[in-house]
């Protein structure tokens, strides 16, 4: 058994480990260490502005406080609701856009560039633009609605707890649909056109072909896009921060924004870290779920 081939393989493996070691160390330093440090901080009572209280170890007290904190609870709900509304919209619109880009014969490059443009704009800039668009006095969205009497004279998007979500979700959908579309376009291009032609010869109409051929074969790409978008949506921060600041009241405040406020404004490092850990766990669990779904959909395709 111990032929020269296995010896070489073993030496190769050792070399490989050595070559990978620096990268692994770097990854540990930049991702694992901060996560562990945040987790450790979350177990302490630490308020930068109350140094006389010290930094005692408090176990899970911060997490217990968070479960009883109404604002944290509604922040979790806001985050989940945002993901549930924005991701399906982005997938549907992204799929439509991908199909257009896929079938377009002329001006393909131009269409792709135009479609990608919103994605290339920095989120904070996009958020400011959307804020102006929804301005109550002069916004180009509000003024026509007011002119036809759909909204009242004194209506203001940012004062209404539900309406304030419209610019946030609108901006997110506008900005990230191109990303979904590009991912799905790549998926579409891997589908063998012969399948479609064969179905056409068998007499299948375009809708039938889309449902029984394109959609199933696009499955893995759709799952990847959905996974990316969900994880991004769960970390929603900048749009809410710039557009509404989480208001009116805290009706559009996502969990990451609340964690930011606890950490950077209230300077409660212990409690803020606990909230950050919750954001991390939430995203982590959802990521695991998506990885399983992805594994199943790829396996399904191979079967």
């Amino acid at each position: 058994m111990n032929g020269p081939a296995t010896t070489i393989a073993r030496t190769d493996a050792r070399l490989a480990r050595r070559l990978v070691a620096p990268t692994l160390t770097l990854i540990l330093l930049v991702s694992l260490v901060p996560i562990v440090a945040t987790g450790w901080e979350a177990l302490h009572g630490h308020d930068l502005r109350l140094p006389w209280l010290g930094r005692p170890f408090v176990g899970l007290a911060n997490f217990v406080e968070a479960t009883g904190d109404q604002r944290a609870g509604s922040a979790v709900l806001h985050t989940a609701a945002f993901a549930l509304v924005s991701v399906p919209l982005e997938l549907a619109l992204g799929l439509a856009l991908a199909l257009v880009m896929h079938t377009a014969v002329r001006g393909r490059a131009a269409i792709r560039v135009a479609a990608l443009l919103p994605w290339a704009i920095p989120t904070v800039v996009a958020a400011l633009v959307w804020r102006f668009m929804f301005d109550a006095q002069a916004g180009i969205v509000t003024s026509p609605l007011r002119a036809v009497g759909l909204v009242g004279e004194s209506f203001d998007w940012f004062v209404h707890p539900l309406a304030a979500w419209v610019p946030i979700i609108g901006a997110d959908v506008w900005k990230t649909t191109p990303f979904v579309a590009i991912l799905l376009l790549a998926g579409l291009q891997t589908i063998d056109p012969a399948l479609d032609e064969a179905a056409q010869i068998d007499g299948a109409g375009p809708i039938r072909r889309f449902i029984t051929i394109t959609l199933p074969l696009l499955g893995p790409a759709l799952v990847v896009a959905a996974a990316f978008r969900t994880l991004d949506a769960l970390r929603l921060f900048d749009l809410a921060y710039v557009l509404t600041g989480g208001g009116p009241g805290t009706s559009t405040e996502p969990l990451s924004l609340y964690a930011f406020i606890a950490l950077m404004q209230r300077l409660r490092f212990g409690y803020g870290s606990a909230l950050s850990v919750m954001v991390f766990l939430l995203t982590f669990v959802v990521a695991l779920l998506w990885v399983r779904v992805l594994g199943r959909s790829v396996a399904g395709e191979r079967a």
Binding site: R49, V159, G245, S251, Q265, R266
Partner: protein, 423 residues
């Protein structure tokens, strides 16, 4: 490893050398707001201080314009016990926090002569009976009113309400009254003025939370009605800060405006303003059982507890808070001096753009915000609850009950609860 270590050590050594070895000039650092004309005034005054103290080199440490960012930076520095900046400009609402944390020096040992300072400003610069800072300049909430629409300022809240409603019904302006209603510190100052007008408070003299008492509920109900039922404050004001409020008044869209003194000079600028020479200021009027109340803002100077030169730092504070420096600030930045005696001088009347008698009335009505080490968090709790009530997500009573409960929990957690039961 060694290849990395050496450059690091060199950098550290160079940094230490730059901080002035023995024999070099004594360095003193000052940190504060450098917004607009402030930067120029501070530079000028620091140079003058340097001329009087040969061998002392005073540096201006520039910090972010936004007050809460400066606050965050100070907290990080002082937590790390850095010796500079030696002298800090504090917002009036921070002094108690910094004093309780032991980050700034108590000034009792240098026995500052504080008799001349405005009482409300002085109250904000003390913590548990000890002086920790010296008032530098003050800000007061003012009610701007249109002299072309009315012959006199409203003498009560009911009168203000009727006057605002009257001009709206007559179609003279788009809005009756505009104030800062966005969810930020400004909203709390507006609420404080309504509270005073109804005889309420956030904390009582013993430090107990009284923001859920009937007076406070009446005050918030008045504000909510002003937006909703009576409609003389536009709902959009619930997204406005100082500048948006000023634009509304400046464009002639509002009959009344609640704002700070800085707006005066801008409103008098005829190239931008449509209300030039057509407005005046008064204190925010009283309602039932209350008194006219003007929220006090402004800045104080304090000495870093870890300063390497506390005596010299104290001299700089004394110099900057002297009458001449205050007058210069009033002339160049229109910031109100914190010294009472200056208000009797012709020099100040000449220096300030706002008529002195109108300012004095507001200063007499000045009320400071709660002096507490956890004020900023207390304020944040209030901001959220007030905003929820004003945007119709919660009735005023429920909002204030919740705010009071949360503030009591905060005080208990911080070890600051006043005597009395904490529910």
């Amino acid at each position: 490893m060694n290849r990395l270590l050496l450059p690091c050590l060199l950098v550290v050594a160079a940094g230490a050398a730059a901080c002035g070895g023995p024999g070099g000039p004594t360095r003193l650092t000052f940190s504060g707001s450098a917004l607009g004309p402030e930067a120029e005034i501070v530079r000028r005054q620091l140079v003058r201080f340097g001329e009087r103290h040969p061998g002392v080199q005073v540096e201006l440490r520039v910090t972010p314009d936004a007050a809460d960012q400066r606050h965050q930076l100070y907290v990080q520095w002082l937590n790390a016990r850095v010796p500079d900046p030696d002298v800090l400009q504090l917002d009036v609402i921070w002094t108690a926090e910094f004093a309780a944390a032991g980050w700034i020096l108590p000034l009792d040992s240098v026995a500052p002569d504080v008799n001349d300072f405005l009482p409300a400003a002085l109250a904000a610069s003390r913590w548990r009976g000890t002086q920790y800072a010296v008032p530098w300049f003050v800000d007061v909430g003012l009610l701007y009113w249109r002299t072309d629409l009315f012959s006199a300022p409203p003498s009560s809240l009911v009168e203000l309400q009727h006057a605002a409603r009257g001009v709206l019904d007559a179609g003279a302006t788009r809005f009756g009254l505009v104030w800062q209603g966005a969810r930020y510190e400004g909203l709390v100052t507006v609420f404080l003025e309504h509270l005073g007008a109804f005889g309420g408070a956030i904390l009582d003299a013993q430090g107990r939370v009284v923001v859920d008492e009937p007076e406070a509920i009446r005050a918030l109900t008045f504000m909510c009605d002003a937006v909703k039922a009576d409609g003389f404050v536009p709902p959009s004001a619930l997204t406005w800060q100082e500048e948006q409020v000023r634009f509304a008044f400046q464009n002639g869209d509002a009959a009344f405006m609640r704002n700070w003194p800085y707006a005066w000079a801008l409103l008098q600028d005829g190239t931008e303003s449509r209300v030039e020479n057509r407005f005046a200021v008064a204190p925010f009027p009283a309602g039932e059982n209350g008194r006219p109340t003007a929220a006090l803002g402004g800045a104080e100077l304090a000495v870093n507890a870890h300063s390497a030169n506390p005596a010299l730092a104290w001299e700089l504070v004394t110099f900057l808070t002297a009458p001449e420096q205050m007058l210069e600030r009033a002339r160049l930045a229109a910031q109100l001096p914190a010294r009472r005696s200056l208000y009797d001088t012709a020099a100040l009347a000449e220096a300030l753009p706002i008529p002195l008698d109108q300012v004095r009335q507001a200063l007499d009505a000045a009320a400071s915000r709660p002096v507490s080490p956890v004020y900023t968090e207390m304020s944040e709790i209030l901001q959220v609850r007030l905003h929820r009530a004003l945007t119709g997500q919660e009735p005023p009573e429920a909002a204030l009950r919740a705010a009071a409960r949360e503030i009591r929990t905060l005080l208990a957690r911080s070890g600051l609860a006043a005597e009395g039961p904490v529910p």
